[in-house]
Every structure is written in structure tokens, then in C-alpha cells.
Amino acid sequence: MPSSTSSSETSTRPGFLRPTASDRPGVAQPVPDRDVPAHPWGRILGAAVVVFVLAIGAWEWRLRTLELLPGDLGDDSSAWAQQRRRIDAEPGAMAIVGDSRILFDTDLDRFEALAGIRPVQLALQGTNGRPFLQDLADDADFTGLAIVGIAEVSYFRDAIGLKGDVLKRYRHESPSDRSSYVLHRSLSRVFGFIDEEYRLSKLVRRLDPGLRAGTRGPSDEPWKMISATDARQAWLWPRIEHDARLAAHAVSIWDAWGRLPPVTDDLIARTQAATRDAVAKIRARGGDVVFIRPPSAAALRVVEDKRLPRSRGWDALLAAADVRGIHADDDAAMQGLVLPENSHLSRACSTVFTDAYVRRLAALTDRVVLRAAAPAPLAAADCAPQSSVE
């Protein structure tokens, strides 16, 4: 395709080594010139690859010493969307919605061992479970049991929270998103350093100890909390169980809830109404809803109750929505469990808690039936730290 103008006919601005379209007004633009600087590029690439591989190896080693291990797959929007699509394929599925407590405190393997069912884990860190209960209610195909995990600080608020964008990903996940997700998971099984919370920019930001007064900085935000494997089986990151600094940091974040104003009657009423409507919709199609309130440590309960005491929150919600619920306070098997940072159970205790709540679920709803070969009940002693057992 010949052009009417060759590059030799164009004017060049002083100083520039290579004219651009901005130097050639009103003419057809010629084939661009792109020079390669004179260098031994093969050797440069080789040297760069060697340095890169050594640097990545050193980084991987360093982060593994910080207990970032291969196989911790993280939890992103695509992982959630993949689980959400299980309900599309199996409308009678059992689904768990809620925040990080029901997410970290549920051992899906134990659930399956007891009930023969592996629920779809849809709970999300730092995210209000109510919009997701409504999402299930609005899904005309969902006829299963919705298990709603409640932490009042998360459920009684208007904002959706940190991970609200997962619904968008579920509704439109491009082929490219899906393939990148598969590749990301494959790499996460090999490299421990692949972790959203240990990105370069996040590590740099955490160098700030809170130098500027009055701002909300990295020291005021939760750091890595989650360790996750396939099908969104998630736990509290094990390092928090024995790293006092990380546990103390998390505790300081939860303690900040004490500065939140008490929940207003209006917000309570709106939350109850939205919940009641969602429960009614699900029941009208033959589904059902059960609420679970996982434990929090006594020190944190003081903070939580200050914002919303049980009588105004949990008890009133169950009554208003006419749903059955399991509150950790009410079950002896859920007492004495280990909460390393006051809000979430240790990995071992999440199994004990799951064991206890699945047995209670079986008593509350005929949608959960204990298998004949179900393992024997567990107790708090089964997850007590080794030193206290001795």
C-alpha cells in the first residue's frame, strides 16, 4: 500500500532523533522506523535471566521462612465465582454465606465427613453476608439450604465491604479471567511468594508505622489473615497462631471496632427487613435458611456488644426473620476454643467448631443428616495447644 509521503519528505523538529506523526501534518504516515540500539542483546538477556532467577529464588526462600508456602492459593474473585457457579449447576446445593468468621471457622472436610455433603463456601473476608443472602434469594433456581454466618459488625451495616466485586466477576467472567485464574492457581501450587498480601507495594506501604497523624494507614488495616486451598477451604493463616506480633496487630484492628458508634434502630430495622424478605423468598421456593454465630473471644465480645448487644442484634434478627440459629454461646461444645487473635478460630479448632455446628444443624433441619459412619464428636481439648494439653 504505497503512501503519498515518504519519511524523507517530512520535517524534523530540532533535537529529535526520530520524527513522529506529530511532525507530519496532513499526509499519510509512513512505515515507522524502529531501531534496535547496538548492543549484544543475547548476552544481555542471558545475564538478565540469570540475575532474575537468582533474585526470585532468594525471594521465594525468604518468604517461605515467613510461612508463605506453596499450595496457599489465596482467595480471589474468580475462586468465588467458580464456587458460585456450582449452585447454578446444582440448585439444591447447600451454601455458606457470611464473613471471615464462618469462612475461616468452617472445615469443609469435616462437614463432608459428618453430613456427606460438601457445602459451597461463599463467605468472604471483610464482607457483609447480607447482600449474598439476597443474591441467593434472587436466584430463582436456588432451592437449597443457606447457612448464614453472622458477625454483627459485618452483617449490621449498609456497606457490602471489601469483596463486593465478586458478584460482578460471577456475572461476567471473561475467558481471559478464567484462564488467568487457572494459571495463577497452578503457579501458586509451586511458588509460596505469590500472595496478594505480600506484593511489593504492600510491603513498602507497611514500612509506615503511622507517621502522619490522623490518617488511616497500613498499620490500621488487616494484613494477611487467610490461608486457602481448593474449593475455598480457608483458615486463619497458621503463622498468626504463634506470631505474637501479627496476632497483636490483628487484635488492634478488631479493637478499633470499639470506636464505632452503636448500631441505630433504623439500621437494625433495615437489616431485619432485608433478611426477612430474603428468607421468605428462599423458603417460598422450598429452600431454607439457618444462621450461625461463630465464637469471638471475651475481650472482643465486650467491644462487639457495646456496638450491638445480642438482644438487639442476634436474638431480634432471628425473631424478626423467623429463622433458626446456632449461637456459639449456647453450645457447650463450642466453648473454650482457641481464638489466636480474638476473632477467628485456630485451624485445629475450626474443625472442632465445624463438628459441633454440623451436629446442631442436623438437629435443626432435616436437610442435614449425619452419616451412619460419621466420626465421633470432637471437643475443645482436641484442639487445645500442645503445651496446655500436657
Binding site: M1, P2, S3, S4, T5, F16, L17, R18, T20, A21, S22, R24, P25, G26, V27, A28, Q29, P30, V31, P32, D33, R34, D35, V36, P37, A38, H39, W41, R43, I44, L45, A47, A48, V50, V51, F52, A55, I56, W59, S174, P175, S176, S179, S180, L183, H184, L187, F193, D195, E196, R199, L200, S201, V204, R205, D208, R212, T215, R216, P218
Partner: protein, 471 residues
Amino acid sequence: MVFNSLTFAVFFACVLALHALPLPWAVRKTNLLVASYLFYAAWNPPFVLLLWISTVVDWYAAQGLVKARRQGSRRAWMLLSVVANLGMLAYFKYGTFLLDNFRVAMLAVGVDYQPPAFDIVLPVGISFYTFATMSYTLDIYLRRAEPARSFLDYALFVTFFPHLVAGPIMRPTELVPQFEQPRRASANQLYFGLALMTLGLFEKVVLADGFLAGPAEAVFDGAKIPGALDAWIATLAFSGQIFCDFAGYSTTAIGAAMCLGFAMPDNFRFPYAAIGFSDFWRRWHITLSAWLRDYVYIPLGGNRHGEARTYLALMATMLLGGLWHGASWTFVLWGGLHGLYLSIERLLRRRFAGVKPGALALFGIALLTYALINITWVFFRARDFGTAWRMLVAMSGQQAGAVPILPAVDLIAVAVIVSGIVAVHWLMRERTLESVIARTPAPLLAALWACLAFAIVIEQGSGNAFIYFQF
């Protein structure tokens, strides 16, 4: 698919391998064409249809132009292309905007018109490929170029994945001739292309997404009222973010094309070292500003019909340029501000035609240019005029009830990175990247390359779309 995704890494490796096979040139071009459609379909497969429509309409319009004897027929074929392309743009990009403004206009005359729900998904990069295909028919209409000899070459020009969704906006005369003869990158082109891709991805993943997007978002999109420091830092952060995002895309695209043996034009030339606004637009998004100049400003009369008409053409071009960026009045105002700046500069140049500023004065003008460009970025970044106004008041130090927003680490990071960007632009303002690289010792280049790649990998990224994808 986006360049900063794992999917692209695998896709690009496959394309490189396929392109290196000893196959006939036509087969290798077909491979590139199919790969480019896959690249686009990886975002939303049905929208490939739009690409085909744009491709086919302009191909036949160009054929018609060539065969037409009368000027009226030629104009009709040209208009078919323009109407088809702008029609697609109007529907997908401006449909909701037009409907909203129509509703407001009706309300102003007392009619409460409630339009039906009009939820349109914007096809990624539609503004880029419609402009590219329009330039094909317009160049033929303006007798600047001949039509492509092969439909395959032409279709590949429209669809070639490195430039497809965010430019540089290619002209047919820049790319179609490259498809006429077999091309394969030399080893040095392949390695240097990979180096350019690393540099582009570093700008996008590490600087734009990792360090600059967060502070801008915290202030522009947050509920707190910013003071002067936060407002300025957020605006500077956005100035760095949008440069690193878009120039990073262009650099990656140029590198990807070079790995395959093709040359793409510069799209940025160290714009934050611009001395004046006409200089800025010769350095920022060069392929768009040149497109608007050639197909809007000059046809509107350019500077050939007196001063008043020149200013009118200038302002109309910049307002359209603003609207091209997004279906919102804030973008129109952004373009209008640039039109105003250019007009004032033109006036001043005429008024002080004999004055030759010294080096210090030029540096001062460059700083003033950068500061005024930052004012325009406020309108570009703000979601609405309320936010933009709040930011401008804050930047002037007049905001009541302001609270500190950004932590110290963000203030420091933005200051360091943006100062670095501006300093590099100033040092490079009369150089090309290649000329500087040619003078850099090879061991240093290897170390820098490894550092950039290392930073990209440990930043990990989250596959965020490039800002300009939405345009």
C-alpha cells in the same frame, strides 16, 4: 485480554512460536489474524462481530471509493464509513450519555421523560479500532493512500493485537505495507522487543497499579474532604498513573510488535517535559492528536482561514478529543481546557513573537505547563463536577473541614515516583529511549532489565485493565 495477565504471557509465547514456524507468509499472517481475534474475544467473544462489521464496511467503502467516478459518489462512500463507525461508537459509547442528556433537556422544558433502561456494555477499545479503520477510508478519500491489495492484509491491519484495544492508533499506510512482505524479527529485535515489553509492564504493574493508583483513588473517590497536600499529591499521583498506564501499554505494544518483526510508531515522547501545550500534544498520545489534527482540525479549516476560524477549529477539535475519551461532560471540559490553553498559547506566541526565552525561563514554562496539565487531570479523573470542584478548592488551600487522608508512605512514594518521572522526561526531552540505551553499558542494562522483571513478578499485579481500555 490484557498485557499484564498470565493468559497473555501464554498467548504471546504461542503466537511467537507459531510466527517462527517455517510456514508460508500468508499462513503466518492468517495465524496472526486468528490470534488477534482470540485476543479480542478473550474479553467478550460476541463483540468480535463489531470488529468484523467495522472491518468489512471500511473494506467495501474503500473499494467503492476507488471505483467511484463522481465526487458525489466518493463522498457517499466516505460518509458510509464515517456513519457506520461513528454510529457504532454513538450507540455503544455515547448511547446512555445521549439519553441522559436528552432526559435533562426535556426536563428543562417541562417534560418528565423517563427513558427505558439502556444498559449497554462498552466494547473494549472500540474508540481505537473505529478510528483506525476510519483513517483507512479517509486516507483513500483524501487521495493520500491507495487501498490495500489484499483483504487479509487489511483485516490484519484493523485487528493486529498489539494495537487493537488501546493503540497506538495506526494508520493503514504505517502497517499494511509491513504485511505485504514476509517479516520475521531478528534475534536482536526479539530481545529488544522483550526488553521494551518489560519496561512497559513495569510502568503499568509496579508504578501505575502498585504505587500510584491507590493514593489517587483514596482522595478522588473517598468520602473525606482533602486538604491542599492530599489533593495535590492525589492529582500528581494520577498524572503519574495515567502516564505509566498508557505509555506503559504503548511501550508493551511496540515491544510485542517488534518481537514479531513489525514496527509501530511512538505514542509518547516524554510529555511531562513539554514547554507549552502545543508541545505537550506533540508528546502525549501522539497518534490520537495527529489523527484529530489530520481528520478533524485540518478539514475544519485549520489555520488557513484566519485567526477566528483557527481558534474555532482548535476548540472544536479539543472538545471532540475530550469526548473521545469518555461519555461525560467532565471529559468534554478536560478537552475544552486544553483547547483554551492552546488558544492562549497561540495568542501569547503571536504577542511575543520576537522574544526568545532563556534556559531558566523555558524550565519555568515547562513547570507551569505541567502544573496546568495537572489541573486538567482533575476533571479527567473526577467522577463528576462536584468532586472536581472539591479537589480544585482543596488544591487552592481553601477547603474548609479538610482532614488528612494519605499516610506518609503514600506521600513519599508519590513524591519520589512522580518527581522521578518528571526528571526523566526533562532529561530525555530531546532524546529517544533507544539513543540513551545505546550509550548505556551492557552490564547495567542487564541489571536494570532483571530488576524491572523482578519488580513486576513480586508485585504480582491483579490483571487490572489499562485505563485507556474504557475509551
